[in-house]
Symmetry: C2
Subunit: 236 residues, 2 copies
Amino acid sequence: MADQPEKRGVTFREIKSDLLERIAAGEWAADGIVPGEVELAAEYGCARATVNRALRDLAEDGVVERKRRAGTRILAQPVRKARFDIPISRTEIEATGARYRYALVDRAIVEAPGWLRARLALDRGARVLHLTCMHYGDGAPFQFEDRWINLSALPKAESQNFEAQGPNEWLVETVPYSDAEIAFSAIGASPDVAEHLSCDPNTPLFRIERTTWWQDVAITHVALMFRPGHRMTTRY
Amino acid sequence: MADQPEKRGVTFREIKSDLLERIAAGEWAADGIVPGEVELAAEYGCARATVNRALRDLAEDGVVERKRRAGTRILAQPVRKARFDIPISRTEIEATGARYRYALVDRAIVEAPGWLRARLALDRGARVLHLTCMHYGDGAPFQFEDRWINLSALPKAESQNFEAQGPNEWLVETVPYSDAEIAFSAIGASPDVAEHLSCDPNTPLFRIERTTWWQDVAITHVALMFRPGHRMTTRY
DNA sequence: ATTGCCTTTATGTCTAAGCATAATGGTGAT
DNA sequence: ATCACCATTATGCTTAGACATAAAGGCAAT
Protein backbone atom coordinates (compact mmCIF):
# COMPACT_ATOMS: atom_id res chain seq x y z
CA MET A 1 0.00 0.00 0.00
CA ALA A 2 2.91 2.31 0.56
CA ASP A 3 5.69 1.21 -1.66
CA GLN A 4 8.29 3.56 -3.05
CA PRO A 5 11.16 1.40 -4.21
CA GLU A 6 12.98 4.32 -5.81
CA LYS A 7 16.66 3.85 -6.16
CA ARG A 8 17.18 7.27 -4.64
CA GLY A 9 15.89 7.32 -1.07
CA VAL A 10 12.40 8.27 -0.02
CA THR A 11 12.22 11.76 1.41
CA PHE A 12 10.88 12.46 4.86
CA ARG A 13 8.35 14.78 3.24
CA GLU A 14 6.93 11.93 1.19
CA ILE A 15 6.72 9.77 4.26
CA LYS A 16 5.11 12.55 6.23
CA SER A 17 2.39 13.20 3.70
CA ASP A 18 1.83 9.51 3.11
CA LEU A 19 1.45 8.98 6.84
CA LEU A 20 -0.95 11.90 7.01
CA GLU A 21 -3.09 10.31 4.32
CA ARG A 22 -3.05 6.96 6.03
CA ILE A 23 -3.95 8.55 9.35
CA ALA A 24 -6.77 10.49 7.70
CA ALA A 25 -7.95 7.27 6.05
CA GLY A 26 -8.23 5.77 9.50
CA GLU A 27 -5.72 3.02 8.92
CA TRP A 28 -4.68 2.91 12.55
CA ALA A 29 -7.65 4.63 14.12
CA ALA A 30 -8.46 1.53 16.18
CA ASP A 31 -6.09 1.91 19.08
CA GLY A 32 -4.44 5.03 17.80
CA ILE A 33 -0.94 3.64 17.80
CA VAL A 34 1.22 3.91 14.69
CA PRO A 35 3.76 1.16 13.92
CA GLY A 36 7.21 1.75 15.38
CA GLU A 37 9.95 3.57 13.55
CA VAL A 38 11.83 0.41 12.71
CA GLU A 39 8.76 -1.19 11.18
CA LEU A 40 7.89 1.91 9.14
CA ALA A 41 11.46 2.26 7.97
CA ALA A 42 11.35 -1.30 6.69
CA GLU A 43 8.03 -0.65 5.01
CA TYR A 44 9.24 2.48 3.26
CA GLY A 45 12.64 1.00 2.60
CA CYS A 46 14.54 3.85 4.20
CA ALA A 47 16.61 4.56 7.26
CA ARG A 48 15.00 4.91 10.65
CA ALA A 49 16.26 8.47 10.90
CA THR A 50 14.12 9.41 7.93
CA VAL A 51 10.97 8.00 9.47
CA ASN A 52 11.99 9.67 12.70
CA ARG A 53 12.16 13.04 10.99
CA ALA A 54 8.72 12.58 9.46
CA LEU A 55 7.16 11.53 12.74
CA ARG A 56 8.88 14.33 14.62
CA ASP A 57 7.43 16.80 12.14
CA LEU A 58 3.96 15.34 12.57
CA ALA A 59 4.33 15.64 16.31
CA GLU A 60 5.32 19.29 15.96
CA ASP A 61 2.22 19.86 13.86
CA GLY A 62 0.14 18.39 16.63
CA VAL A 63 -1.07 15.41 14.61
CA VAL A 64 0.52 12.74 16.74
CA GLU A 65 2.00 12.54 20.20
CA ARG A 66 5.22 10.68 20.82
CA LYS A 67 6.46 9.21 24.03
CA ARG A 68 9.50 7.17 24.63
CA ARG A 69 8.84 3.51 24.93
CA ALA A 70 5.08 4.15 24.61
CA GLY A 71 5.22 4.68 20.85
CA THR A 72 3.55 7.18 18.56
CA ARG A 73 -0.11 7.83 19.26
CA ILE A 74 -2.50 9.50 16.86
CA LEU A 75 -4.27 12.35 18.59
CA ALA A 76 -7.98 11.65 18.34
CA GLN A 77 -8.79 15.32 18.29
CA PRO A 78 -5.75 16.85 16.77
CA VAL A 79 -4.78 20.05 18.50
CA ARG A 80 -3.91 22.10 15.49
CA LYS A 81 -1.13 24.52 16.12
CA ALA A 82 -1.25 27.91 14.51
CA ARG A 83 1.90 29.95 14.29
CA PHE A 84 1.87 33.69 14.51
CA ASP A 85 4.56 36.07 13.64
CA ILE A 86 4.86 38.67 16.35
CA PRO A 87 6.18 41.65 14.46
CA ILE A 88 7.10 44.96 15.92
CA SER A 89 4.70 47.69 14.94
CA ARG A 90 7.05 49.44 12.52
CA THR A 91 7.50 46.26 10.53
CA GLU A 92 3.80 45.51 10.61
CA ILE A 93 2.90 48.95 9.32
CA GLU A 94 5.63 49.19 6.72
CA ALA A 95 4.67 45.76 5.41
CA THR A 96 1.36 47.26 4.31
CA GLY A 97 3.24 49.92 2.39
CA ALA A 98 2.22 52.65 4.80
CA ARG A 99 4.52 55.30 6.25
CA TYR A 100 5.33 54.60 9.89
CA ARG A 101 5.33 57.24 12.58
CA TYR A 102 5.99 56.87 16.26
CA ALA A 103 5.12 59.23 19.07
CA LEU A 104 5.81 59.13 22.79
CA VAL A 105 2.68 60.08 24.69
CA ASP A 106 3.84 59.88 28.25
CA ARG A 107 6.85 58.79 30.28
CA ALA A 108 7.00 58.41 34.04
CA ILE A 109 9.00 56.56 36.65
CA VAL A 110 6.69 55.20 39.30
CA GLU A 111 6.37 52.58 41.96
CA ALA A 112 4.99 49.41 40.41
CA PRO A 113 1.25 49.05 41.02
CA GLY A 114 0.12 45.87 42.74
CA TRP A 115 -1.16 44.03 39.67
CA LEU A 116 2.16 44.61 37.93
CA ARG A 117 4.20 43.52 40.94
CA ALA A 118 2.26 40.30 41.00
CA ARG A 119 2.66 39.72 37.30
CA LEU A 120 6.37 40.42 37.14
CA ALA A 121 7.21 39.10 40.61
CA LEU A 122 8.62 42.46 41.71
CA ASP A 123 9.52 43.49 45.22
CA ARG A 124 7.34 45.91 47.11
CA GLY A 125 8.31 49.44 46.14
CA ALA A 126 10.09 48.40 42.94
CA ARG A 127 10.53 51.24 40.48
CA VAL A 128 9.28 50.85 36.95
CA LEU A 129 9.31 52.98 33.84
CA HIS A 130 5.80 53.53 32.52
CA LEU A 131 5.53 54.55 28.88
CA THR A 132 2.55 55.20 26.69
CA CYS A 133 3.13 55.57 22.96
CA MET A 134 1.33 55.75 19.68
CA HIS A 135 2.11 54.10 16.38
CA TYR A 136 0.69 55.58 13.19
CA GLY A 137 0.38 54.23 9.68
CA ASP A 138 0.16 56.91 7.00
CA GLY A 139 -0.81 59.37 9.71
CA ALA A 140 -3.75 57.32 10.97
CA PRO A 141 -3.68 55.84 14.47
CA PHE A 142 -2.69 52.20 14.31
CA GLN A 143 -1.73 51.06 17.78
CA PHE A 144 -1.67 52.35 21.34
CA GLU A 145 1.14 50.97 23.46
CA ASP A 146 1.02 50.87 27.25
CA ARG A 147 4.37 49.62 28.48
CA TRP A 148 6.02 48.97 31.83
CA ILE A 149 9.75 48.32 32.14
CA ASN A 150 11.37 46.81 35.22
CA LEU A 151 14.16 49.26 36.04
CA SER A 152 15.97 46.96 38.43
CA ALA A 153 16.36 44.43 35.62
CA LEU A 154 17.11 47.00 32.96
CA PRO A 155 18.56 50.16 34.51
CA LYS A 156 19.75 51.29 31.09
CA ALA A 157 16.14 52.08 30.23
CA GLU A 158 16.13 54.97 32.67
CA SER A 159 18.55 56.98 30.56
CA GLN A 160 16.55 56.46 27.39
CA ASN A 161 14.03 59.15 26.63
CA PHE A 162 12.15 57.11 23.99
CA GLU A 163 11.22 60.22 22.07
CA ALA A 164 12.66 59.16 18.75
CA GLN A 165 12.66 55.39 19.07
CA GLY A 166 9.83 53.29 20.47
CA PRO A 167 10.47 51.04 23.46
CA ASN A 168 9.58 47.99 21.40
CA GLU A 169 12.41 48.53 18.95
CA TRP A 170 14.82 49.55 21.68
CA LEU A 171 14.05 46.44 23.69
CA VAL A 172 14.42 44.17 20.68
CA GLU A 173 17.89 45.59 20.14
CA THR A 174 18.83 45.51 23.78
CA VAL A 175 17.36 42.25 25.06
CA PRO A 176 16.81 40.44 21.82
CA TYR A 177 16.14 36.84 22.73
CA SER A 178 13.92 36.37 25.68
CA ASP A 179 11.04 34.27 26.89
CA ALA A 180 7.60 35.71 26.70
CA GLU A 181 4.02 35.04 27.58
CA ILE A 182 1.52 36.50 25.20
CA ALA A 183 -2.24 36.84 25.50
CA PHE A 184 -4.89 37.95 23.03
CA SER A 185 -8.17 39.41 24.13
CA ALA A 186 -10.76 42.06 23.43
CA ILE A 187 -11.30 45.17 25.51
CA GLY A 188 -13.37 48.32 25.30
CA ALA A 189 -11.47 51.52 24.59
CA SER A 190 -10.92 53.59 27.71
CA PRO A 191 -11.60 57.32 27.25
CA ASP A 192 -7.89 57.98 27.07
CA VAL A 193 -7.15 55.25 24.54
CA ALA A 194 -10.25 56.16 22.53
CA GLU A 195 -8.93 59.68 22.21
CA HIS A 196 -5.60 58.49 20.88
CA LEU A 197 -7.08 55.97 18.48
CA SER A 198 -9.74 58.44 17.30
CA CYS A 199 -12.62 56.20 18.18
CA ASP A 200 -15.53 56.27 20.60
CA PRO A 201 -15.01 55.13 24.17
CA ASN A 202 -15.92 51.47 24.67
CA THR A 203 -15.22 50.62 21.06
CA PRO A 204 -14.09 46.97 21.02
CA LEU A 205 -10.33 46.80 20.48
CA PHE A 206 -8.11 43.85 19.83
CA ARG A 207 -5.46 43.69 22.51
CA ILE A 208 -2.17 41.87 22.82
CA GLU A 209 -0.54 41.64 26.21
CA ARG A 210 2.99 40.41 26.47
CA THR A 211 5.21 39.79 29.45
CA THR A 212 8.87 39.22 28.75
CA TRP A 213 11.54 37.53 30.83
CA TRP A 214 15.23 37.16 30.41
CA GLN A 215 16.67 34.28 32.37
CA ASP A 216 13.71 34.19 34.71
CA VAL A 217 13.77 37.87 35.57
CA ALA A 218 10.87 39.92 34.30
CA ILE A 219 11.91 42.67 31.91
CA THR A 220 8.77 44.27 30.65
CA HIS A 221 5.03 44.04 30.37
CA VAL A 222 3.11 45.64 27.54
CA ALA A 223 -0.47 46.00 26.39
CA LEU A 224 -0.97 46.82 22.73
CA MET A 225 -4.37 48.12 21.69
CA PHE A 226 -5.03 48.13 17.96
CA ARG A 227 -7.24 50.46 16.01
CA PRO A 228 -10.85 49.30 15.68
CA GLY A 229 -11.37 46.49 13.22
CA HIS A 230 -7.80 45.20 13.32
CA ARG A 231 -7.44 41.52 12.43
CA MET A 232 -4.44 39.35 13.09
CA THR A 233 -4.22 36.62 10.52
CA THR A 234 -2.28 33.49 9.81
CA ARG A 235 -2.50 30.30 7.79
CA TYR A 236 -1.68 26.84 9.01
CA MET B 1 34.94 30.94 23.96
CA ALA B 2 32.75 27.94 23.35
CA ASP B 3 34.55 24.83 24.29
CA GLN B 4 32.80 21.68 25.40
CA PRO B 5 35.31 18.90 24.99
CA GLU B 6 33.07 16.36 26.74
CA LYS B 7 33.77 12.79 25.87
CA ARG B 8 30.07 12.22 25.33
CA GLY B 9 28.82 14.34 22.44
CA VAL B 10 27.50 17.86 22.78
CA THR B 11 23.75 17.98 22.44
CA PHE B 12 22.01 20.12 19.86
CA ARG B 13 20.18 21.83 22.71
CA GLU B 14 23.45 22.95 24.25
CA ILE B 15 24.63 24.23 20.91
CA LYS B 16 21.35 25.99 20.31
CA SER B 17 21.38 27.82 23.61
CA ASP B 18 25.07 28.63 23.31
CA LEU B 19 24.49 30.06 19.86
CA LEU B 20 21.57 32.08 21.20
CA GLU B 21 23.81 33.55 23.85
CA ARG B 22 26.51 34.37 21.37
CA ILE B 23 24.01 35.95 19.04
CA ALA B 24 22.56 37.96 21.90
CA ALA B 25 26.07 39.01 22.90
CA GLY B 26 26.47 40.41 19.41
CA GLU B 27 29.36 38.16 18.45
CA TRP B 28 28.41 38.17 14.78
CA ALA B 29 26.16 41.20 14.70
CA ALA B 30 28.46 42.92 12.21
CA ASP B 31 27.39 41.40 8.96
CA GLY B 32 24.85 39.09 10.48
CA ILE B 33 26.32 35.91 9.10
CA VAL B 34 27.04 32.97 11.38
CA PRO B 35 29.94 30.64 10.60
CA GLY B 36 29.05 27.66 8.44
CA GLU B 37 27.96 24.33 9.81
CA VAL B 38 31.30 22.67 9.18
CA GLU B 39 33.16 25.37 11.03
CA LEU B 40 30.79 25.33 13.99
CA ALA B 41 30.91 21.55 14.12
CA ALA B 42 34.68 21.73 14.35
CA GLU B 43 34.44 24.39 17.04
CA TYR B 44 31.99 22.40 19.15
CA GLY B 45 33.72 19.14 18.39
CA CYS B 46 30.59 17.44 17.15
CA ALA B 47 29.07 16.18 13.93
CA ARG B 48 27.71 18.58 11.37
CA ALA B 49 24.26 17.03 11.74
CA THR B 50 24.15 18.18 15.34
CA VAL B 51 24.95 21.76 14.43
CA ASN B 52 22.44 21.48 11.62
CA ARG B 53 19.73 20.46 14.04
CA ALA B 54 20.51 23.38 16.32
CA LEU B 55 20.49 25.88 13.48
CA ARG B 56 17.33 24.43 12.00
CA ASP B 57 15.65 24.88 15.36
CA LEU B 58 16.80 28.48 15.58
CA ALA B 59 15.44 29.09 12.10
CA GLU B 60 12.08 27.64 13.12
CA ASP B 61 12.03 29.97 16.09
CA GLY B 62 12.57 32.88 13.76
CA VAL B 63 15.96 33.82 15.19
CA VAL B 64 17.95 33.18 12.05
CA GLU B 65 17.22 32.73 8.39
CA ARG B 66 18.91 30.02 6.39
CA LYS B 67 19.45 29.90 2.69
CA ARG B 68 21.35 27.40 0.66
CA ARG B 69 24.72 28.58 -0.39
CA ALA B 70 24.07 31.95 1.26
CA GLY B 71 24.61 30.71 4.81
CA THR B 72 22.84 31.40 8.07
CA ARG B 73 21.90 35.02 8.64
CA ILE B 74 20.91 36.50 11.97
CA LEU B 75 17.62 38.34 11.67
CA ALA B 76 18.22 41.93 12.74
CA GLN B 77 14.68 42.29 14.00
CA PRO B 78 13.78 38.79 14.90
CA VAL B 79 10.23 37.97 13.96
CA ARG B 80 9.41 35.92 16.96
CA LYS B 81 6.96 33.18 16.23
CA ALA B 82 4.33 32.33 18.77
CA ARG B 83 2.50 29.06 18.56
CA PHE B 84 -1.07 28.69 19.57
CA ASP B 85 -2.95 25.55 20.17
CA ILE B 86 -6.31 25.77 18.48
CA PRO B 87 -8.40 23.47 20.60
CA ILE B 88 -12.00 22.60 20.02
CA SER B 89 -14.26 24.13 22.60
CA ARG B 90 -15.02 20.89 24.44
CA THR B 91 -11.33 20.30 25.03
CA GLU B 92 -10.76 23.89 26.03
CA ILE B 93 -13.56 23.83 28.56
CA GLU B 94 -12.82 20.41 29.97
CA ALA B 95 -9.17 21.38 30.37
CA THR B 96 -10.29 23.91 32.99
CA GLY B 97 -12.07 21.17 34.87
CA ALA B 98 -15.50 22.49 33.94
CA ARG B 99 -18.40 20.43 32.68
CA TYR B 100 -18.97 20.92 28.97
CA ARG B 101 -22.38 21.38 27.43
CA TYR B 102 -23.27 22.00 23.80
CA ALA B 103 -26.49 23.35 22.34
CA LEU B 104 -27.64 23.90 18.80
CA VAL B 105 -29.27 27.29 18.52
CA ASP B 106 -30.30 27.35 14.90
CA ARG B 107 -29.88 25.35 11.72
CA ALA B 108 -30.82 26.46 8.22
CA ILE B 109 -29.92 25.71 4.64
CA VAL B 110 -29.62 28.90 2.69
CA GLU B 111 -28.10 30.45 -0.36
CA ALA B 112 -24.64 31.70 0.49
CA PRO B 113 -24.61 35.45 1.13
CA GLY B 114 -22.27 37.53 -0.98
CA TRP B 115 -19.52 38.00 1.60
CA LEU B 116 -19.37 34.27 2.17
CA ARG B 117 -19.33 33.48 -1.56
CA ALA B 118 -16.38 35.77 -1.93
CA ARG B 119 -14.55 34.32 1.00
CA LEU B 120 -15.07 30.69 0.07
CA ALA B 121 -14.97 31.18 -3.71
CA LEU B 122 -18.48 29.74 -4.12
CA ASP B 123 -20.65 29.88 -7.21
CA ARG B 124 -23.61 32.14 -7.34
CA GLY B 125 -26.56 30.41 -5.72
CA ALA B 126 -24.43 27.89 -3.86
CA ARG B 127 -26.22 26.28 -0.94
CA VAL B 128 -24.66 26.37 2.49
CA LEU B 129 -25.61 25.04 5.89
CA HIS B 130 -25.76 27.82 8.45
CA LEU B 131 -25.46 26.76 12.09
CA THR B 132 -25.40 28.75 15.27
CA CYS B 133 -24.45 26.98 18.46
CA MET B 134 -23.54 27.60 22.07
CA HIS B 135 -20.83 26.06 24.19
CA TYR B 136 -21.16 26.16 27.97
CA GLY B 137 -18.69 25.53 30.76
CA ASP B 138 -20.31 24.50 34.05
CA GLY B 139 -23.57 25.90 32.73
CA ALA B 140 -22.17 29.35 32.02
CA PRO B 141 -21.99 30.63 28.43
CA PHE B 142 -18.48 30.18 27.09
CA GLN B 143 -18.57 30.55 23.33
CA PHE B 144 -21.01 31.42 20.59
CA GLU B 145 -20.35 29.67 17.29
CA ASP B 146 -21.58 31.00 13.95
CA ARG B 147 -20.73 28.43 11.31
CA TRP B 148 -21.23 28.05 7.57
CA ILE B 149 -20.62 24.76 5.79
CA ASN B 150 -20.22 24.45 2.02
CA LEU B 151 -22.72 21.75 1.10
CA SER B 152 -21.35 21.13 -2.37
CA ALA B 153 -17.99 20.24 -0.83
CA LEU B 154 -19.44 18.31 2.08
CA PRO B 155 -22.92 16.98 1.19
CA LYS B 156 -22.76 14.63 4.15
CA ALA B 157 -23.30 17.61 6.40
CA GLU B 158 -26.87 17.99 5.18
CA SER B 159 -27.95 14.74 6.82
CA GLN B 160 -26.43 15.69 10.14
CA ASN B 161 -28.75 17.42 12.55
CA PHE B 162 -25.97 18.64 14.90
CA GLU B 163 -28.26 18.45 17.90
CA ALA B 164 -26.09 16.18 19.98
CA GLN B 165 -22.66 16.84 18.51
CA GLY B 166 -21.25 20.24 17.62
CA PRO B 167 -20.16 20.91 14.05
CA ASN B 168 -16.62 21.53 15.21
CA GLU B 169 -16.18 18.03 16.56
CA TRP B 170 -18.01 16.49 13.63
CA LEU B 171 -15.80 18.30 11.16
CA VAL B 172 -12.62 17.33 12.96
CA GLU B 173 -13.68 13.70 12.68
CA THR B 174 -14.82 13.99 9.10
CA VAL B 175 -12.23 16.23 7.49
CA PRO B 176 -9.42 15.92 9.97
CA TYR B 177 -6.39 17.38 8.28
CA SER B 178 -7.02 20.47 6.30
CA ASP B 179 -5.58 23.88 5.56
CA ALA B 180 -6.96 26.84 7.38
CA GLU B 181 -6.74 30.57 7.65
CA ILE B 182 -7.36 31.96 11.07
CA ALA B 183 -7.89 35.52 12.22
CA PHE B 184 -8.16 37.06 15.66
CA SER B 185 -10.02 40.28 16.29
CA ALA B 186 -12.34 42.10 18.66
CA ILE B 187 -15.98 42.79 17.99
CA GLY B 188 -18.92 44.21 19.88
CA ALA B 189 -21.64 41.76 20.85
CA SER B 190 -24.65 41.93 18.55
CA PRO B 191 -27.99 41.89 20.37
CA ASP B 192 -28.45 38.24 19.44
CA VAL B 193 -24.99 37.16 20.56
CA ALA B 194 -25.25 39.29 23.69
CA GLU B 195 -28.39 37.44 24.62
CA HIS B 196 -26.73 34.07 24.28
CA LEU B 197 -23.57 35.06 26.11
CA SER B 198 -25.57 36.82 28.85
CA CYS B 199 -23.86 40.13 28.37
CA ASP B 200 -24.83 43.60 27.27
CA PRO B 201 -24.97 44.42 23.57
CA ASN B 202 -21.73 45.96 22.31
CA THR B 203 -19.68 44.28 25.00
CA PRO B 204 -16.20 43.74 23.49
CA LEU B 205 -15.75 40.08 22.62
CA PHE B 206 -12.68 38.21 21.49
CA ARG B 207 -13.38 36.60 18.13
CA ILE B 208 -11.68 33.87 16.15
CA GLU B 209 -12.59 33.45 12.51
CA ARG B 210 -11.43 30.41 10.65
CA THR B 211 -11.81 29.37 7.05
CA THR B 212 -10.93 25.80 6.22
CA TRP B 213 -9.99 24.21 2.92
CA TRP B 214 -9.41 20.68 1.90
CA GLN B 215 -7.36 20.36 -1.23
CA ASP B 216 -8.14 23.92 -2.31
CA VAL B 217 -11.88 23.61 -1.94
CA ALA B 218 -13.46 25.61 0.85
CA ILE B 219 -15.19 23.47 3.45
CA THR B 220 -16.34 25.78 6.17
CA HIS B 221 -16.13 29.23 7.65
CA VAL B 222 -16.71 29.90 11.32
CA ALA B 223 -16.75 32.83 13.70
CA LEU B 224 -16.26 32.01 17.37
CA MET B 225 -17.23 34.69 19.88
CA PHE B 226 -15.97 34.12 23.40
CA ARG B 227 -17.54 35.23 26.63
CA PRO B 228 -16.46 38.68 27.82
CA GLY B 229 -12.98 38.80 29.30
CA HIS B 230 -11.69 35.68 27.55
CA ARG B 231 -7.93 35.59 27.06
CA MET B 232 -6.04 33.32 24.76
CA THR B 233 -2.57 32.70 26.08
CA THR B 234 0.68 31.09 25.05
CA ARG B 235 4.35 31.14 25.90
CA TYR B 236 7.16 31.25 23.43
C1' DA C 1 26.24 45.93 -20.88
C1' DT C 2 23.64 41.92 -20.96
C1' DT C 3 22.78 37.19 -21.15
C1' DG C 4 23.74 32.46 -20.36
C1' DC C 5 26.54 28.86 -18.50
C1' DC C 6 29.49 26.76 -15.24
C1' DT C 7 31.79 26.24 -10.86
C1' DT C 8 31.79 26.71 -6.11
C1' DT C 9 29.81 26.45 -1.75
C1' DA C 10 26.67 26.13 2.25
C1' DT C 11 22.71 24.12 3.44
C1' DG C 12 19.36 20.10 2.85
C1' DT C 13 18.72 15.46 3.27
C1' DC C 14 19.61 10.42 3.56
C1' DT C 15 22.10 6.17 5.34
C1' DA C 16 23.71 2.96 8.76
C1' DA C 17 24.98 2.25 13.17
C1' DG C 18 25.28 2.96 17.97
C1' DC C 19 24.39 4.59 22.69
C1' DA C 20 20.96 7.20 25.81
C1' DT C 21 16.75 7.51 28.16
C1' DA C 22 12.18 7.02 29.79
C1' DA C 23 8.25 4.25 30.47
C1' DT C 24 6.40 -0.28 30.92
C1' DG C 25 5.76 -4.56 32.78
C1' DG C 26 7.37 -8.27 35.18
C1' DT C 27 10.03 -10.42 39.07
C1' DG C 28 11.12 -11.19 43.57
C1' DA C 29 11.49 -9.87 48.35
C1' DT C 30 9.07 -8.16 52.18
C1' DA D 1 -0.78 -7.47 48.65
C1' DT D 2 2.78 -4.07 48.25
C1' DC D 3 6.86 -2.17 46.89
C1' DA D 4 11.55 -1.94 45.08
C1' DC D 5 14.24 -3.27 41.43
C1' DC D 6 15.50 -4.82 36.75
C1' DA D 7 14.99 -6.07 31.92
C1' DT D 8 12.79 -4.71 27.82
C1' DT D 9 11.61 -1.65 24.24
C1' DA D 10 10.41 2.43 21.39
C1' DT D 11 11.74 6.78 20.83
C1' DG D 12 15.59 10.43 21.21
C1' DC D 13 19.91 11.82 19.84
C1' DT D 14 24.65 11.67 17.98
C1' DT D 15 28.20 10.22 14.52
C1' DA D 16 30.46 9.91 10.08
C1' DG D 17 30.03 9.95 5.51
C1' DA D 18 27.75 10.85 1.15
C1' DC D 19 25.01 12.88 -2.49
C1' DA D 20 21.45 16.66 -3.76
C1' DT D 21 20.27 21.28 -4.57
C1' DA D 22 19.89 26.15 -4.70
C1' DA D 23 22.12 30.35 -5.01
C1' DA D 24 26.13 33.33 -5.68
C1' DG D 25 29.75 34.79 -8.39
C1' DG D 26 32.70 34.55 -12.13
C1' DC D 27 33.55 33.76 -17.04
C1' DA D 28 32.58 33.96 -21.64
C1' DA D 29 29.96 34.79 -25.67
C1' DT D 30 26.70 37.71 -27.59
